[in-house]
Symmetry: C2
Subunit: 223 residues, 2 copies
C-alpha cells in the first residue's frame, strides 16, 4: 500500500519572510536540492501534470513532492501511487505557503536525498503570488478552460513565474482558447517567462517540460 | 458605446465585519434589493454565466452587476454590452471582498433602483469564503474541468453557499466528471445546498437557475 504522512502546517511567526526565503534557498543550494514552487487555480491539473512529470523523470533523479491543501489528502494519495516520496501538507485554512511553512514541509518530507522537490501550492491565483516560498524557481499552470484572459486579471502571478505551463491544450479548440494571444499577454507582463503548452491527459508537450526541469536541476547542482 | 465606472476599492478599516454585513443586509431588505455574492475559481465561467442570466431576466427585473477583480476591466466590458448597470471594482491586490468593500461597490453602482444585484467576487476558492459580504445569498460556480474532487479540497466554500452551479456540464464526458459523486460530496458538507448543472455555453440548465433567482428575488421583496 502507498503510504505518506499528513502534516498540519503551523502558521509562521516570522515577519521577515523574504530574508528567510533567501536563507532557505541557500540551504537548498548547499544540499543540491532543486525546489520548484508550482502554483495554479484549483482544478488546472497540477497533480495530473506532476504524475506525468514523475513518469518522465523518476529513473533519472530522486523526486519528492509536497502536496499543500486546505484539507483532504486526495492529491498525496494519487502521487503516492507513483512510488516517489510524498507528503500532504494541511494549511489549516491558510490560502498560501510562505518560506517557513515550506521549510516545515521539507523537514516532514525528509528531503536530504532528493534532487528535485516540488511544492504543490494551494490552488489560488492570488495569495500564493505574494509570498516567496524559498523555492529556486516558480512555475504556474494555466489550464485552457480558464480562458486566455487570465494574465489580465491576475498579473502578479504571471509576473513572478519562471515558467508557465498551458495545460489541457488538447481542449483549446472547444474552449476557443487563443494560445498566441495568451502568450502575448503573459510576455507583456514577464518577457523572460518560458511558455510550454502541454496536455497532462494526452502527454503532449510533457517532454519539453521535463527537459526544462532537467536543465534547471543540472544547473542548480553545478553552480 | 457601453460605459461603466471603475472603482478602486479601499481596504476596510472595520474589525466587526459580521456585524456590518448584517447591517448591510438589513438596509438591502428595506430597499428591496436582492444581492447575490457569486464566487468561484478563476476561469469557471462567472461572467459568461452572468451574461446568460441577464438574457433570461433583464425584461423582468432591474439588474446591477459589480465585477470585482485584482486588475483589468475585461469582465465589466463584457457585461456592459448586455445593457445592464455594471461597475468594475478593483481590489488593489486583495483576494476577497468584505461587507464594507461590497458597500463601496453598491454606492458606486448607484443601486437604489435595482431588484437583483450581483457581486462577482474575486476568482478564488479560499479567501472569499471567509468573509461575509452582506449579500442575501451566496452562490458558487464549480466548472467541470476543475474536477469533481474540489468539495474535498475547499470545504469551507462549499459549506457557506446556498446554491452551486456546476458549469461547463457539456464537457463532463471529456473531463470524466462524475456529477453524482460531486453532488454527494457537496451534500455531505452542506445538505441544504441546491445543485444546478448548467452550461453557460449551450444554455443548458440556465432556465432552472433563472427560476431559482426569480423565487429568491420575489421572496426577499415580500417578507
Amino acid at each position: 500500500m502507498s503510504e505518506f504522512k499528513i502534516l498540519e502546517i503551523k502558521k509562521s511567526v516570522y515577519e521577515d519572510n523574504n530574508k528567510r526565503a533567501d536563507m532557505l534557498r541557500e540551504e537548498l543550494k548547499e544540499k543540491k536540492i532543486f525546489l520548484l514552487n508550482l502554483m495554479s487555480s484549483p482544478g488546472s491539473g497540477k497533480t495530473t501534470t506532476l504524475m506525468r512529470t514523475i513518469e518522465h523523470l523518476k529513473d533519472e533523479m530522486k523526486i519528492g513532492i509536497m502536496e499543500a491543501d486546505i484539507d483532504s489528502d486526495v492529491d498525496a494519495q494519487t502521487i503516492a501511487t507513483s512510488g516517489v516520496k510524498v507528503i500532504q501538507l494541511h494549511t489549516g485554512g491558510m490560502c498560501h505557503l510562505d518560506s517557513d511553512m515550506t521549510r516545515q514541509g521539507l523537514v516532514g518530507l525528509e528531503v536530504d536525498d532528493v534532487d528535485f522537490a516540488v511544492l504543490e501550492n494551494v490552488g489560488n491565483l492570488v495569495c500564493p503570488a505574494e509570498f516567496d516560498t524559498g523555492a529556486v524557481k516558480n512555475a504556474m499552470i494555466l489550464s485552457v478552460p480558464e480562458g486566455d484572459d487570465k494574465p489580465l486579471k491576475y498579473p502578479l502571478m504571471f509576473s513572478i513565474c519562471d515558467v508557465l505551463l498551458v495545460n489541457k491544450i488538447d481542449a483549446a479548440e472547444y474552449f476557443n482558447f487563443d494560445l498566441a494571444k495568451c502568450e502575448e499577454r503573459v510576455k507583456k507582463l514577464n518577457p523572460n517567462i518560458k511558455v510550454i503548452p502541454i496536455s497532462a491527459k494526452t502527454g503532449e508537450g510533457v517532454e519539453v517540460w521535463a527537459d526544462w526541469i532537467r536543465g534547471q536541476v543540472k544547473a542548480w547542482k553545478q553552480n
